[in-house]
C-alpha cells in the first residue's frame, strides 16, 4: 500500500509517495530525494552525522520514520545557504577550520543551528560542548567546532541586537 507524505523540504512543498512505511527520513533524503548531504555514520542514533532540522528542531534522521512526519518542514544542509550566501554557521565552520575529513560536518552544522535556535547554550563553551556532544567527530576537530559555534552565536546576537536597535 502506498502512503502520500506531504513535506516541505528546504522550502519546497513536496508530495512523496511511499511504498514502505519503514523508510527512515535519512534513507528518504539520501536514496529517494538524492539529498546526500546528511550522512549515515551509524544508522542507529549514536553519531549525529544524519542530523537535520524538523520544524527547526534537530533530530537524528536515521531514527525517524518518514511516515511520522506528515506536514512538517525539514531543513537539510543543502537548504541552509541562501543562494550564494552561506549561513553564518557554515561560514564560521570554514573560518575556524571546524572539520578535517568533513564527513561529520553536515550533521555538526545542522546540530549547531538547532542548538543556537534552542537558545540554551549562549556563549558558554562548556554548555556548547555539552550541547554538541551528540555529534561525534572522529577526526577530533572539536576545538574548531566549538569556536565556530561560539562565533556564529555571537553573529546571531549581533544581528538580533542590530534588528532590535
Amino acid at each position: 500500500m502506498t502512503y502520500v507524505l506531504n513535506l516541505t523540504i528546504n522550502g519546497a512543498a513536496q508530495a512523496i509517495a511511499l511504498d514502505d512505511p519503514r523508510v527512515t527520513l535519512l534513507d528518504l533524503l539520501r536514496e529517494r530525494l538524492h539529498l546526500t548531504g546528511a550522512k549515515k555514520g551509524c544508522d542507529r542514533g549514536q553519531c549525529g552525522a544524519c542530523t537535520v532540522l524538523v520544524d527547526g528542531r534537530r533530530i537524528n534522521s536515521c531514527l525517524t520514520l518518514a511516515v511520522s512526519l506528515d506536514g512538517v518542514e525539514i531543513t537539510t544542509i543543502e537548504g541552509l545557504a541562501e543562494g550564494e550566501t552561506l549561513h553564518p554557521v557554515q561560514q564560521a565552520f570554514i573560518e575556524h577550520d571546524g572539520f578535517q575529513c568533513g564527513f561529520c560536518t553536515p550533521g555538526q552544522i545542522m546540530s549547531a543551528v538547532g542548538l543556537i535556535g534552542e537558545g540554551q547554550a549562549g556563549t558558554d563553551p562548556e554548555r556548547i560542548r555539552e550541547g554538541m556532544s551528540g555529534n561525534i567527530c572522529r577526526c577530533g576537530a572539536y576545538h574548531g567546532i566549538v569556536e565556530a559555534v561560539l562565533d556564529a552565536q555571537a553573529t546571531f546576537q549581533d544581528g538580533v541586537k542590530r534588528k532590535t536597535a
Binding site: G37, I77, Q91, E95, D97, S133, G134, C137, Y142
Partner: protein
C-alpha cells in the same frame, strides 16, 4: 607565497554545504546492484554444510556467491595472500565473510544475507595472547629479536632492577564514513572502481588479480575519505574485489557499503599488546639496560602485522638513549579480526612500553617523572643543529648516540622543546599545587604527566618511499595537479596544492585539486606512515620545477637573459625589466610548441634498513613533540576527566599551521581516547561485543579538555624535506600517552607511595577504580 599559510581544507565550501561527495554519495546508474556479505558466526570451524536456498529466494536477490562459485578464490590480503574473499572450507573468526549476496537494494541484500544457513564443526579457537603463546600460534617461525649491547649484563650490574608488565588494548578506527566501494563495468571488460581507500594502487592490483586482468584494465579513483586512520589501507580490498567480481559477472554497476556493526565486526583494528619489561636503573634514574618482551595479537591473517610489530620495536626507545637493550617480539595468530594499520602503526604501543617504564622507575625512586625522562634523553648531536639558546642539554660529546637499531639520532630537539613546554604549562608549580590539593581532598584526586614523543618518519619497507605526480598547465594559466596521495581529512590536497602554487608563484586558487586516480599516477604507495605531504609534495614540486624551467628557458631566450633571472611571483613572471601575467606566459609557451605537462618523481634519500638484523637507517628523520595533561578522578567511581592539556609539537617549518594544529589536536584526542575510554571486548566465543558506538566509547565534544593549549615548535627540518616541513599525521597521536600517565599519577596519589600500582590500558573508569582500590590496599 602560498607556503606556510593557514589556508582551510581544499573542499571547505563543499563540506559545509553538503556537496562534498563520498563514495556512497556518488550518483549511480539506475541498474546498480548492491552487495552484502553473510558472516561467520563461529571463531574457528570447518564448514560442513552451506544452504543458501532461502537467500537465493529472498526478494530482490539476483545472485549469491560462495566458495563453490570460484575456481580460484580471489585474495584480499595486502601481504601474504592469506585472505580469501570468501571462506573456503574453514572459518577463522566471527565476522569472516562466507558468502556474498547481490541484490536490487542495499536493504534487500542485507536482509537476505541473514537467511543463509551454515553448519560448522567447531574447532578450538585461540582468542587471547596467552592462548596463542601456549599454542605457539604465530606468524613467522619464531619471535623477532633485536639487540644492542648486552642487556642482561647491564641490568645485573645496575643499582636497581625493576620489572613489570602492561596490557595495551586495541582500537576501533571508527572512520565516520564506513568502508565503501562502487564498481562500474566498462567496454571490453575494463573496470572503474571508486573506493574509500588509502591505497588505490593496491585496490587496482587486487581487483585486476581477481578479474584475471592486467592492471591497465582497472582504474581506481579516490576523491576523498570520511576518515581513514590506517583502517582503509587494506580493509577496503574485500569490498572493491567483491564489487568488481559481481559487476563483471552481472555486467551491472555494483556498490557495497558496510553498515556500522558489520564494519566493526568484519574489519581489523589496532593491535593489542602485552609488554613485559625488566629494567636496570641507577639511583639518579638513568637506565642502564632494558629488556622488552612485546606480545602482539595479530588476528587470523597476516595483513600488515609484521611491519606493525616491527614499528613497535622501533619505538621501544621513544626519546631515550638506552645503552644496552634487547627487544623480543612475538606476532601471534588468533581467531579474531585481522589487526591492521592504525595511526602510529605499532609505534604507539612500543612507545607506551617505555613511557610506562619511566613512570614506574620514577615512582620507585621517588623522583619527578619529568626529571627521570630528561636524564635519559638522547643528547643533541654535535653540529647537526644551530645552537639552541633554550637548550638544557648537557655538554656536547663528540659521539652521536644511536637507537637500539643503530640509527644515529642527529636531529634531537627534545631538551629545548620539553624545557619550553615545562615553562609555558607551569608544570612544576602545578605539580606542587596538585600535591597540596590532593592532600586535602579525600574523594577527588588530580594527576599530571608530561610525556615526550620521538617518532620515526619513513615507511620501514624502503621501496615504498617513492611518489609520483602529474602536473599540467593549461594555456589560460590554470593548473591541474594530481599525485598518488589520498585525502582523508588530513589536508594533504591543500598542502600539495600550496606547493604547486608556490612552484609557479600563483595563488592557490589557480591549482585544481583532483581525485587520486591510478590512470594518472601509477604504482603509488598507500597514504600512510605520515608520509603523504613529504613524498607527494616533493613529487609535485619536481613536476612543477620541470614545467617552470621550460617556461623560464623560453622567456630567457626571448629576453636574452639567464634562465635563473626569470622570476615567478604573485601571478606574474618577471624577466629582464619586463613582466607578464602567468597566463600570458602559458599561452606564449604553448604557441611556441613547448610542452606544459610533466610528471614528477621523488624517492626518499639516505634510508637503508636490514629488517632481519634490526639495523640501519629506517627513518629519514624524526618528528618530536611533548604534552602535559592534567586529570581528575573520582575515587568512589573511577570516573575521570581531562582538565587541561598543553602541547608543544614539532612540524619543522610548517606548510600550513592551521592544518597542522588540526592534526595535533585531533591526534591527541584520538590517542587519549585509545588509552582511556575506547575499550574493545570479545566474549569467550570470540564475538566482539563492542560493535557500535553505544558500547564503544569514542571521545565526544564534551570529553575534549576544557583548557587545550597547542603550540607549534618553530624549527626547520634538518633534512631536506619539502620546504623543511615535517610529517604530522601520526606523531601527535602519541601525545595522548600523557593523559594515561596523568591518570596513573592520580591513582598513585591515593596511596602512600610504598608500591607502584600499574594501570592497564585503556584506563576505563572500571580499571581506574580497581587500581585505586589496589593502591589503597583494599582489594
Amino acid at each position: 607565497m602560498s607556503i606556510s599559510r593557514p589556508l582551510p581544507h581544499d573542499a571547505a565550501e563543499l563540506h559545509v554545504t553538503g556537496q562534498a561527495r563520498y563514495v556512497d554519495d556518488i550518483p549511480v546508474p539506475a541498474d546498480c546492484l548492491y552487495l552484502a556479505f553473510g558472516l561467520s558466526t563461529v571463531a574457528h570451524g570447518e564448514i560442513t554444510g552451506l544452504d543458501l536456498s532461502e537467500v537465493r529466494a529472498a526478494p530482490g536477490v539476483l545472485a549469491v556467491l560462495s566458495a563453490e562459485d570460484f575456481e580460484h578464490m580471489p585474495d584480499c590480503s595486502p601481504s601474504a595472500e592469506d585472505e580469501p574473499l570468501l571462506a573456503v572450507g574453514k572459518v577463522h573468526y566471527v565476522g569472516q565473510p562466507v558468502f556474498l549476496v547481490v541484490a536490487e537494494s542495499h536493504l534487500a541484500a542485507r536482509k537476505a544475507a541473514r537467511l543463509g544457513r551454515v553448519d560448522y564443526r567447531e574447532l578450538p579457537a585461540i582468542l587471547t595472547i596467552d592462548e596463542a603463546m601456549a599454542a605457539g600460534s604465530r606468524f613467522e617461525a619464531g619471535p623477532v629479536t633485536w639487540s644492542k649491547g648486552d642487556a642482561a649484563k647491564a641490568i645485573a650490574g645496575a643499582a636497581r632492577v625493576i620489572e613489570g608488565s602492561i596490557e595495551i588494548g586495541g582500537q576501533e578506527h571508527f572512520y565516520l564514513e564506513g568502508q565503501a566501494a562502487l564498481a562500474l563495468p566498462q567496454e571490453g571488460g575494463d573496470m572503474i572502481v571508486h573506493s574509500s581507500s588509502q591505497h588505490p594502487s593496491e585496490i587496482q592490483h587486487k581487483v585486476a588479480h581477481a578479474l584475471h586482468a592486467p592492471m591497465n584494465a582497472v582504474r581506481v579513483e579516490v576523491r576523498r575519505m570520511g576518515g581513514g586512520f590506517g583502517g582503509k589501507e587494506s580493509q577496503g580490498n574485500a569490498l572493491a574485489v567483491a564489487c568488481a567480481i559481481a559487476a563483471a559477472r552481472t555486467g551491472r554497476p555494483c556498490k557495497m557499503r558496510y553498515d556500522r556493526d558489520d564494519d566493526m565486526v568484519i574489519t581489523g583494528k589496532r593491535h593489542d599488546f602485552r609488554i613485559d619489561y625488566r629494567v636496570g636503573v641507577e639511583e639518579d634514574g638513568r637506565l642502564r639496560g632494558v629488556e622488552f618482551l612485546q606480545l602482539c595479537r595479530c588476528g587470523w591473517s597476516q595483513d600488515l602485522s609484521l611491519p606493525v610489530a616491527d614499528r613497535a620495536m622501533l619505538h621501544a626507545d621513544n626519546a631515550y638513549h638506552i645503552p644496552d637493550i634487547r627487544i623480543e617480539s612475538h606476532r601471534l595468530k588468533t581467531n579474531t579480526q585481522s589487526a591492521t594499520a592504525y595511526r602510529g602503526f605499532g609505534g604507539p604501543q612500543g612507545m607506551l612500553g617505555i613511557e610506562r617504564v619511566m613512570d614506574h622507575v620514577a615512582a620507585v625512586l621517588g623522583r619527578d617523572p619529568a626529571e627521570v625522562r630528561r636524564v635519559n634523553f638522547y643528547e643533541e648531536a654535535p653540529g647537526a643543529l644551530p645552537p639552541d639558546p633554550r637548550s638544557t642539554s648537557p655538554k656536547k660529546k663528540a659521539e652521536v648516540q644511536s637507537t637500539p637499531y643503530h640509527q644515529p639520532v642527529e636531529d634531537f630537539i627534545l631538551h629545548g622543546l620539553m624545557a619550553r613546554l615545562e615553562e609555558t604549562s607551569g608544570y612544576q608549580a602545578r605539580k606542587a599545587e596538585i600535591a597540596k590539593w590532593n592532600a586535602s581532598n579525600p574523594v577527588l584526586k588530580r594527576g599530571i604527566a608530561l610525556t615526550p614523543v620521538k617518532f620515526g618518519i619513513s615507511f620501514t619497507l624502503t621501496h615504498l618511499n617513492q611518489a609520483g605526480a602529474l602536473v599540467h598547465v593549461y594555456q589560460d594559466g590554470s593548473i591541474h595537479m594530481n599525485h598518488g596521495g589520498t585525502e582523508m581529512g588530513q589536508g594533504l590536497f591543500r598542502k600539495v596544492a600550496q606547493v604547486a602554487a608556490a612552484g609557479f608563484g600563483v595563488a592557490p586558487e589557480m591549482v585544481k585539486i583532483t581525485a587520486t586516480d591510478t590512470a594518472k599516477v601509477p604504482n603509488t604507495s598507500a597514504t600512510a606512515a605520515s608520509s603523504g605531504s613529504d613524498l607527494n609534495g616533493m613529487a609535485v614540486k619536481a613536476a612543477c620545477d620541470i614545467i617552470r624551467g621550460r617556461m623560464a628557458a623560453f622567456l630567457a631566450e626571448r629576453h636574452q637573459v639567464a634562465a635563473e633571472d626569470v622570476h615567478f611571483e604573485e601571478g606574474r613572471v618577471f624577466v629582464g625589466g619586463a613582466d607578464y601575467a602567468f597566463a600570458e606566459v602559458a599561452k606564449m609557451v604553448y604557441e611556441a610548441r613547448i610542452s606544459l605537462s610533466a610528471t614528477g618523481f621523488y624517492k626518499t634519500p639516505k634510508i637503508t634498513w636490514d629488517r632481519m638484523n634490526g639495523s640501519g637507517r629506517p627513518f629519514y628523520y624524526f618528528a618530536y613533540g611533548a604534552a602535559v595533561t592534567e586529570v581528575v578522578i573520582d575515587t568512589l567511581t573511577g570516573e575521570n576527566r581531562i582538565l587541561r592539556t598543553d602541547i608543544l609539537h614539532d612540524c619543522g617549518a610548517s606548510l600550513n599551521p592551521a592544518l597542522d594544529r588540526g592534526q595535533i589536536e585531533g591526534g591527541y584526542v584520538q590517542g587519549a581516547g585509545w588509552l582511556t575510554t575506547e575499550e574493545l571486548v570479545w566474549d569467550g566465543k570470540g564475538r566482539l561485543t563492542t560493535h557500535a558506538p553505544s558500547t564503544y566509547k569514542i571521545p565526544a565534544c564534551s570529553d575534549r579538555p576544557g583548557i587545550f593549549n597547542v603550540e607549534l615548535w618553530d624549527g626547520r627540518n634538518v633534512e631536506d624535506t619539502i620546504y623543511r616541513s615535517k610529517a604530522v599525521g601520526e606523531p601527535p597521536f602519541m601525545l595522548g600517552i600523557s593523559a594515561f600517565l596523568a591518570l596513573s599519577d592520580a591513582v598513585a596519589a591515593c596511596g602512600d607511595g610504598s608500591h607502584y600500582v600499574s594501570l592497564d590500558a585503556p584506563a576505563t573508569a572500571e580499571r581506574v577504580l580497581a587500581a585505586v582500590n589496589r593502591v589503597r590496599g583494599d582489594v
